[in-house]
Amino acid sequence: MRRMSFGQATVDAMRSAMREDDRVVVLGEDISWGGNFGQFRGLLDEFGPDRVIDMPISEAIIMAVTVGAAVTGLRPVASMSFVEFTLGAMDEIVNQAAKFRYMFGGQVSVPLVLRASDGVLRSSAGQHSSSLEGLFTHLPGLKVVAPSNPADARGLLRAAIADDDPVVYLENKRITAKRGPVPAGDHVVPLGSAAVRREGSDLTIVTYSVMTLHAEKACSSLAEMGIEAELIDLRSLVPLDLDTVLSSVARTGRVVVAHEAWEFGGFGAEVVSAITGQAFDRLRAAPVRVGAAQAPIPFSPPLERAVVPGSDELVAAAREVMGLT
C-alpha cells in the first residue's frame, strides 16, 4: 500500500498506461506544466512532447484531434481543465466520439478518455463549479466514471485507458489534493463496479465522487443517532452496477441518492427510477434525492453553501427517509 493524493494517483495510472502501451498519448491545455491540478506532473519529462501534447485553448480541436487519433490507431487521453470547457467541444463529444462506433456499423472503436475536473471548490463561481455528469450519462456510446478516492482514481483511470470505448473521467476538484492509500502494483478497478464503503441495515445511501466523502461524515453522524447507513460509492455511472444497489436496497428498504450535481433532471433520478422500477416491493419509504438546488453555482460563500449540498443535507435526507422528520 502506498499513500498519495488523488491527483498523484492519476499520474501514476497515466505513467503505467504510457509505459505499457506506446499508443497512449495525452493532449490538453497546460499539461507540459503538470496541469491545473498537478494531474499530469512529470509526464512530459518521461514521455516527451510527442506523447504529451500541449493544446491551444481550443476545446473543439482538442476533442476532434483526440477522436481522429483514436480511430486511426492511438489511444489518446484528452484533458479539459474544467468540465465546463467540454461544452466548447460538445459536438465532438456528442456527435463524433459517442456515435462513431454505432453510426458506422461497428467498423471502428473509439478508444479515448476525456478527463475533466468538476465540482465546487473555493468559490470558483458559475462557470468553474459545475458537475455535468448528467449531460454525459444521457448519451448512448459514452462511459462515465467519477472516482472518490486515490485508489479508485488510479484504478478507474487505468481501466478507462484500457477500454475500447470513449470514457469520460470526472475528477472532482475538492478531492484532487486529498491523500489516501493506493494498493501497490498496477492497481485496476474495472468499469461498472460499485463499492460498498460502509455496511448498514437501516438505509442505503447511493452516491459517487466528492459526495462519498460527505456521506462518510453523514454516516458517522447518523450512527451517533442510532441509524446505521449502508454507503455505496457507484464509482462508475455508465456502466452502472445496479446489482449492488438493488441488493442493498432489498435489505434496507430505504434509500437516499445523492450527488453534487443539480438534483433536477440529475443522474440520481435515473438511479431512483431503476430502484422503484425493479425493487418497488422492497421499499419501505419513498426514495429521497439530494443534489444542488436549481441555480447556477453562486460565488459568495454563503450562497454557494446554500445551493450545494453537504453532509448536513445528507443527514436530513436520511432522517426523512427514516420517517424521523
Binding site: 491551444p56 480511430v71 486511426t72 490507431g73 458506422f104 456499423g105 461497428g106
Partner: protein
C-alpha cells in the same frame, strides 16, 4: 503545356471514370429518392465530381479523408464499392454501416474513408487528428478534410487550421466552394470574396482552384498532398464549383434563379474533361460511351444488391453502441 501533362493517360481516364461513376450513381440516387425508395434525405454531389475525383486520385489507398453531409462522391472516389454505399442509402443490413448511418454517415475505414459527417466542418479536426496519429506512428499517411463554403465559417475551421499549421501536420483542407451554404449564398455570409485568403491567417499556403477542371484539382491536390507527406504542413485549397442540384433532393431552390443554375450547368466538369481528353487524343466517342454504359451497369448492380438485401433485424438495434455489451 498540355492540360493532362502531369498525368498518365491511364490516370486521366481513371479520373474521368470516377467522375462518371459518381454522376451516374448520384443521378440514380435522385431518381430512387423521388420514387420514395430511400428513407431519410439525400444530398447529391452532382456538379462537383472533378473535386473528389481529382483530389482522391492524388491520394494513396491508405491515406485518410473526412467527408461531409454531401459525401457519396468522396466515398466513391476514395475507393468504396458502390453496392455497400447504395445498400446503406436503402438502410439495408449489407450497407457500409449496416444500415446504422445512412447517406450522411457513409464510411469505410478499410479504404481510409473516415466518414461522411452530418455536422458542417465536423471532419476537419478529425482529419488533423488522423494526421497527428500518422506522424506519431511514422506511416507518412496524409489526411484530407473536405468541407464547404458553409464550413469555412465554423469555429472548428479556425481551430483545425491553427492546430494543423502549428504542428505542420500532413493535412490538406479542401473547401468545395459550391456557392451556397444550404440555402444561403456565401456572398451574404462571408467576409472575404476569395476564400483561400483565410490561409494566410495561419501562415499556410492557400490556393484558389477551378474546381470544375479535373486537371487543376488533381494538380493542386498532388502538390498539397506531396507537401503534406514531406512534412511541409497543411494547405487550404479553395475549389470553386457549383452545386447543380438543391441542398438536398426535393429542395424547391427558392433562393436562386433557374437561369443561374442553367448557366452554371454549361460548365459541367465531366463534359469539360471529356472535351479535354478528346482534344488530347486520349478519348474517342466510343470509349466515352463505354465508360458511361459501364457505370450505368455498375450502378444498376448496386441497386439490385441493395434491393435484394435484407433490412437489419430490429433485434440488432442495440449492437455496437459499445465495443462490448455492458
Amino acid at each position: 503545356m498540355s492540360l493532362t501533362e502531369n498525368m498518365s493517360p491511364g490516370l486521366a481516364l481513371g479520373i474521368h471514370r470516377t467522375m462518371v461513376r459518381i454522376r451516374v450513381f448520384e443521378s440514380r440516387v435522385e431518381e430512387l429518392f423521388k420514387a420514395g425508395k430511400l428513407p431519410g434525405f439525400v444530398h447529391t454531389y452532382i456538379g462537383q465530381e472533378a473535386i473528389a475525383a481529382g483530389v482522391c486520385a492524388a491520394l494513396d489507398r491508405n491515406d485518410y479523408i473526412t467527408s461531409t453531409h454531401r459525401g457519396h462522391g468522396h466515398a466513391i472516389a476514395k475507393g468504396m464499392e458502390l453496392g455497400p454505399i447504395m445498400a446503406e442509402l436503402y438502410g439495408k443490413a449489407t450497407g457500409a454501416c449496416r444500415g446504422r448511418g445512412g447517406s450522411m454517415h457513409v464510411a469505410d475505414f478499410s479504404v481510409g474513408m473516415l466518414g461522411a459527417n452530418g455536422i458542417v466542418a465536423g471532419g476537419l479536426g478529425i482529419a488533423a487528428g488522423a494526421a497527428l496519429s500518422a506522424r506519431y506512428r511514422g506511416t507518412h499517411q496524409v489526411a484530407v478534410g473536405f468541407f464547404g463554403d458553409g464550413g469555412i465559417n465554423k469555429g472548428t475551421f479556425h481551430e483545425a487550421l491553427n492546430f494543423a499549421a502549428t504542428h505542420r501536420l500532413g493535412v490538406v483542407f479542401v473547401c468545395e466552394n459550391n456557392q451556397y451554404a444550404q440555402f444561403t449564398s456565401r456572398l451574404r455570409t462571408t467576409s472575404v470574396e476569395d476564400l483561400s485568403v483565410r490561409a494566410s491567417a495561419y501562415g499556410i499556403p492557400g490556393i484558389t482552384v477551378d474546381g470544375n477542371d479535373a486537371a487543376a484539382t488533381y494538380r493542386e491536390a498532388l502538390e498539397a498532398v506531396g507537401r503534406a507527406r514531406d512534412g511541409g504542413g497543411p494547405t487550404l485549397l479553395n475549389m470553386e464549383t457549383y452545386r447543380f442540384g438543391g441542398h438536398y433532393v426535393g429542395d424547391a431552390e427558392v433562393y436562386r434563379a433557374s437561369a443561374e443554375v442553367e448557366a452554371r450547368r454549361q460548365a459541367d466538369p465531366i463534359l469539360r474533361w471529356e472535351r479535354t481528353l478528346t482534344d488530347e487524343a486520349l478519348m474517342t466517342a466510343g470509349l466515352g460511351e463505354a465508360v458511361w454504359a459501364e457505370a450505368a451497369d455498375e450502378v444498376s448492380a448496386a441497386v439490385r444488391f441493395a434491393e435484394e438485401s435484407p433490412h437489419p433485424d430490429g433485434g440488432t438495434a442495440l449492437e455496437n453502441v459499445f465495443t462490448q455489451v455492458c
